[in-house]
């Protein structure tokens, strides 16, 4: 690029601070949060570590949705990515005998990204309700296929045994905690990577796409490329979340790709907002807590509590929980 003015010279002090402080602070906060959760998990009851494991797995799917929301589109079919990641991990585990939890989680993400790649350029042409409906349609086609395929367990799905980690079997007493640790570490790493990505030049252009696609093209940027990349990254996050969920649950079934599952991920993404990556996991944990307690105490109306909570957030925090500690679109 031919610069109008030389990019050399001493940048203003403000400029130097902008780039360094933001990432250094984010990494420090992320590592501190991860360490605190690891320590807290050791003393926490099993039901709570399981709940947070599921919140981390589901939060990863919603993190991908947030990446797309920053570009102005909301997918209603990320359950498909969850299912692809989950089924891939489960099949690799059962059929190929590869049982490493980290490898399965990464493999789930890669599989979902590979499946999403051919659809991404097509979906990148659509916006608004059309994008949402197309992603929903894809997820429901996947759901239908999974229901009909007996080799994948049909509507009942199938079970997955306890995984290993780095070649070691997980002891009975601590298996849940180790999976919890893995989920928390992966969620932290993905959150930090997401933050770096959101703050990058590509991340800023994604924000610009949401506001004014025409100008992005007239500035020489590619809107379709930005949306394609975001969709594939969201698929990776979804697939990884699916694999982690399967390992924690020990079971997979077609409901992973059902539209109500996709709706929950959108719910979490809206609840968290698109400014803060940490807020996505906070929102995911809130959903799991509300779901668990509501189904225990008023099983037939827990969706009502969830709906009221979402209404409250939309009314008073239209930019999500993250807006409580994030000031502007790019801060």
């Amino acid at each position: 690029m031919a610069a109008v003015v030389p990019a050399t010279g001493t940048p203003p002090p403000m400029a130097r601070r902008d780039a360094r402080v933001s990432h250094g602070r984010t990494v420090a906060l992320g590592v501190a949060a991860c360490a605190a959760l690891a320590l807290g998990g050791w003393f926490a009851p099993k039901w709570l570590t399981f709940l947070i494991t599921m919140a981390a797995a589901n939060g990863l799917v919603s993190l991908g949705i947030v990446g797309l929301m920053r570009g102005g589109v909301v997918p209603f079919g990320q359950g498909m990515m969850l299912a692809i990641g989950g089924y891939t991990a489960a099949l690799v585990f059962n059929q190929l005998g590869f049982t490493d939890a980290l490898g399965l989680a990464l493999g789930g993400g890669v599989a979902a990204a590979l499946v999403a790649a051919p659809f991404a350029p097509l979906l990148a042409r659509y916006r608004g309700i059309f994008f949402a409906m197309l992603t929903l349609a894809l997820s429901m086609v996947t759901y239908g296929l999974l229901m009909k395929l007996d080799m994948l367990g049909g509507s009942d799905g199938f079970n997955v045994s306890r995984p290993t980690l780095f070649g070691m079997a997980l002891p009975d007493a601590h298996a849940g905690y180790i999976l919890y640790l893995l989920a928390v570490v992966l969620a932290t790493v993905m959150s930090l990577l997401a933050r770096v990505y959101f703050d990058s030049t590509r991340g800023l252009v994604t924000l610009a796409v949401r506001e004014n696609e025409l100008r992005v093209e007239y500035l020489g940027g590619s809107v379709r490329q930005a949306m394609t990349v975001n969709f594939i990254l969201a698929a990776f996050c979804g697939g990884m979340g699916g694999a982690l969920a399967v390992l924690a649950l020990g079971h997979i079934e077609p409901n992973f790709s059902f539209w109500t599952t996709s709706g929950e991920f959108v719910f979490v993404a809206i609840l968290g907002g698109w400014q803060s990556v940490a807020a996505v996991f906070v929102a995911s944990t809130v959903l799991e807590v509300v779901r668990s307690f509501s189904s225990a105490y008023f099983p037939n109306t827990w969706q009502l509590a969830l709906g009221l909570f979402l209404l409250f957030v939309i009314r008073f925090l239209p930019r999500g929980i993250g807006s409580l500690w994030m000031r502007g679109p790019t801060q």
């Binding site: 610069a3 109008v4 050399t8 400029a15 990058s200 590509r202 100008r215 992005v216």
Partner: protein
Amino acid sequence: MDAGADAVSFVLEAKGLQKRFGAVVAAADIDIGITAGERVSLIGSNGAGKTTFVNMITGYLKPDEGRITLSGRDITRLDPRAITRLGVARSFQIPQLYGDLTVLDNMLVATACHAQRLSFWQPARRPGAIAQADALLERFRLVEHRERRVAELPGGVRKLLDIAMALTAAPKLLLLDEPTSGVSAEEKFPMMDTIMAALGQEKGTTVLFVEHDMDIVERHADRVIAFYAGRIIADDVPAVALAADDVRRYVTGELLQE
């Protein structure tokens, strides 16, 4: 002079451009050659074909017939992004900005978009990009607004930012679509002076600007191209073009229409 020699000598050349929207003729036999460094004003009443011409150059509209070349390269069928990457930038009559972002972030979006390859990890707010953005903001006297959200800014400031963003890639050809429209009469001249002073620091950038204020045209243009009903009715230095009967009749309204 043969066609090949013409193509080399002009930064922008349009030959035989035709564009119709149903029964409306938006461009008819448009032949224009613009040389490097010229400041050209496009004038004409509403619907005369100025913006259609700008939109055809920037790839937003495709001509029904004719050919457009940029430094000898055919750009007639290219899309806006490809044309931008070849060195054509534009501002808009209604500024096309990112209202939810700050002024600085708008500039950084422009810088990022011009990059050959977008980075997944290089911070948008990195010192080099910020220094470049600050230098342009300084030239357009926008530094005081640097951290303000664009949605909060007055119209004139938005116009300046719109143009500053177009300049981030040091274009060969800059098209300004009514840079002073929507700005109060007393602000127009200082604003256009700011724009032209900022553009004056660009080496070799050719500028085409659509303008309705003839005082501004006389003051800032080297050449005037007047449009009427999709045709060019005058193409000369301002003193001559603005004095032409057709221009006085159809553009400035100084002569009663026959």
